[in-house]
Symmetry: C2
Subunit: 482 residues, 2 copies
Amino acid sequence: MLEQIIIILQQKCFLDPQKPVLIGVSGGGDSLCLLDLLTRSGYPVVVAHFNHALRAEAAADARFVEGFAGKLGLPFVLGQADVFDYAQTVGLSVEEAARHLRYTFLFEKAHQVGAQAVAVAHQADDQVETILMHLLRGSGLSGLRGMRYWTLPRPWSEEIPLVRPLLEFWREEIDAYLWERNIEPVVDKTNRDTTIFRNRLRHELVPYLSTYNTGIRQVIWRMGKVLDSENELVEGMVDSAWEETYTGQGDGYLSFRYHVLSMQPKGLQRRLIRRGISLLRPGLRDVDFSTTELALDFLDTPTKSGRLVLAAGLMILLEEELLWLADQAADLPRSFWPQLPSSHDGCKHLTLELPGVVRLEHGWVLACDLNKQVEPAYRSALDNTDMFQAWIDASKVRFPLTIRCRRPGERFYPAGLAGRSVKVSDFMINVKMPARARANWPLVFSDDEMVWIPGYRLAQASLVSDSTAQVAHLHLFKMDET
Amino acid sequence: MLEQIIIILQQKCFLDPQKPVLIGVSGGGDSLCLLDLLTRSGYPVVVAHFNHALRAEAAADARFVEGFAGKLGLPFVLGQADVFDYAQTVGLSVEEAARHLRYTFLFEKAHQVGAQAVAVAHQADDQVETILMHLLRGSGLSGLRGMRYWTLPRPWSEEIPLVRPLLEFWREEIDAYLWERNIEPVVDKTNRDTTIFRNRLRHELVPYLSTYNTGIRQVIWRMGKVLDSENELVEGMVDSAWEETYTGQGDGYLSFRYHVLSMQPKGLQRRLIRRGISLLRPGLRDVDFSTTELALDFLDTPTKSGRLVLAAGLMILLEEELLWLADQAADLPRSFWPQLPSSHDGCKHLTLELPGVVRLEHGWVLACDLNKQVEPAYRSALDNTDMFQAWIDASKVRFPLTIRCRRPGERFYPAGLAGRSVKVSDFMINVKMPARARANWPLVFSDDEMVWIPGYRLAQASLVSDSTAQVAHLHLFKMDET
């Protein structure tokens, strides 16, 4: 076992035999076995014990571990916290709370003593139980693969890894090792308490499953190993797809390129959405299956409103090219739309000369100039495919033009509508202008008559015709803000 | 349920409502439900029943299904075979044998009647049981994802798909449908026989797991769905990697580009090896975990002999650039090595003029010509990096040269060995010439003195020196055989 562990420590846990390792020791057999092996492998070891103070013997256990470390001449650090209190405060189960406090302690100490890693003594039986637990609670590949030899466990650590060198040793092997080395561990009586979910797996489920297949532990352990390597493959694909689809993150929101995301295979879409959710909700340990499926259905067939509430206060929102994943309360950025600067009583009124420019928010600019050559393709407003440019008959408007936002009840005569007028607000809904952008969308007026809704439609009255003598060219564009 | 099934039939089973579907009907509730739904959806249906003759009621069941089809005015086809006899002959379990005979029958009939697909009535509970069965027996992603809506089930069919439209409906939903439609199925009493593995899963394991999580069926079903889409991703990667690594297949063997294969991530290597094994052993339903791991270890660290027996009479063999996966008895091709044509008493003796060529096996050619310009880089034989070309002092050999294979005990004086001689057979071993190629490897002699072992070494005596007046150029190469 010592020879095997020396190889595992270097090749699977990536440890340097010269640098210190902090090891979490409960006093139970697994952790004493790992402590003994680490010491014999020549690693500088710091022994850490966290007293959960949940059991009567807790203080005695702490003294036992301190004594054990002392006999080996190893430094010892002790942690303690009120687990019950913490569980109530943050609304976690006692088990979850204990785990959180324990790892927080271990990584704080590891940082303080300059340890290269935190080592814990999970072994092959724990691995099997972990996989079964994920299976029973519902999980994809990332849960079914089980625990890993080396990992950076967020949120506790972004730098110091957590390593588990005993993952391939069974309880029997560890017991035999302890017997041979004459090491006597403390007995945690709660280990036999089958009201604790994990203990029930250990003492009831695994023996029960063995009646179907006597090699069930090996079967599950191997499955974890195979799935781990296949999960690596999938994660590699997700990383590339993330690069292609993810466009950025802000306070309570992030966004994807919708058309790229919606072209991905279902399996990748699911992973990308999950990764997005976990960035916005790092606390959420497992994203609910139906939440993700809702989002996937939305990608296939967006709702009419272009938005959908998922769960946990998150919504998904489709606007033009962008798919937003956001807190329902998040203030999404408007910088990718043209918006009028705000004044204290609404949007600002601006004037546009011929020639002239006005500056809008976030680098957007609206420009007007004389068009010397009337391009035939744009003589009809409806042939124009670039809706952010327009050509108008300069004699049919009065300069300077006015740039302002819409007014309640205001109407306009869109080109191509045979002289009928529509309410501006209805028009904006019909052409699917993003709802959040409507109030401050820049509109072009000649006096109080609407000339152009940039990005969408010219008014009938100012269209270029055969008798047009002078053409004005309007252009809305975004300048690079850097 | 009817509305849902109409969508599933088209979007998940890819069926054309105009074309006939052959449906396997046992007479049980699931198959009658599917039959009723298919008929109501307007598909032309052919009813097929396979009489396993394993139970007392079997003949009555067959008559029942025939009558049911008759009442609906649907064509009916009946199959029957001696399952026990077949199971004994081919060495399968009775369950496996029945399954094999049933699907063989269904696809034969489907072919005869021109059906677009064979439909079977597996539902959501069957799906959960299938996944659990794979889990208990040990499986990777491809087993844990469960059954699929659409599949080409080899070895029964390469063209007509097997579809399972009921995969998302639970037993309770189907029972409710039957009740509502007033359909009374036959009861298969063996369904309650828990000595049958699957029945034990249904009646014992699933209820037991529900004590851990009441939603266990949904959890497992969803897991299958997620893993299916992730398996698709992995399969896509395997397809590309297969293109890059697989070089071809023959009778009882196939080969990979070793250096490309050994650079792949572990997860891909495992899949590629498994795919290779399943091509050579299509009967093997699941490739054993340890078999694949043996092969993966070999990829990392080939054995000294360059070969390893895996299992099921298969071996893995590394030769130069190629990794072979082969029957132990397979006659691997020699076409990628230069080989002398065989004569009845060994290899053929050939003569090589100056200038001249001799043709070897499989398009290999050995050529000799006068080299007008002695290239300085090749003045020393040891500087030559292309071991399939050699430059010799024409005055130190006698033309025509002789091309033949080695003789027992024969020795030669390799260049660079300070005049010492070695046994040709030992030399071949030392330079790692593939064992299978040694006997017929073409060697170049001047009378009976060895001049060149193509691909490896010149003899000391014929080296070009400063006093060389005339240089002969020897060249061994493979011509395109097309």
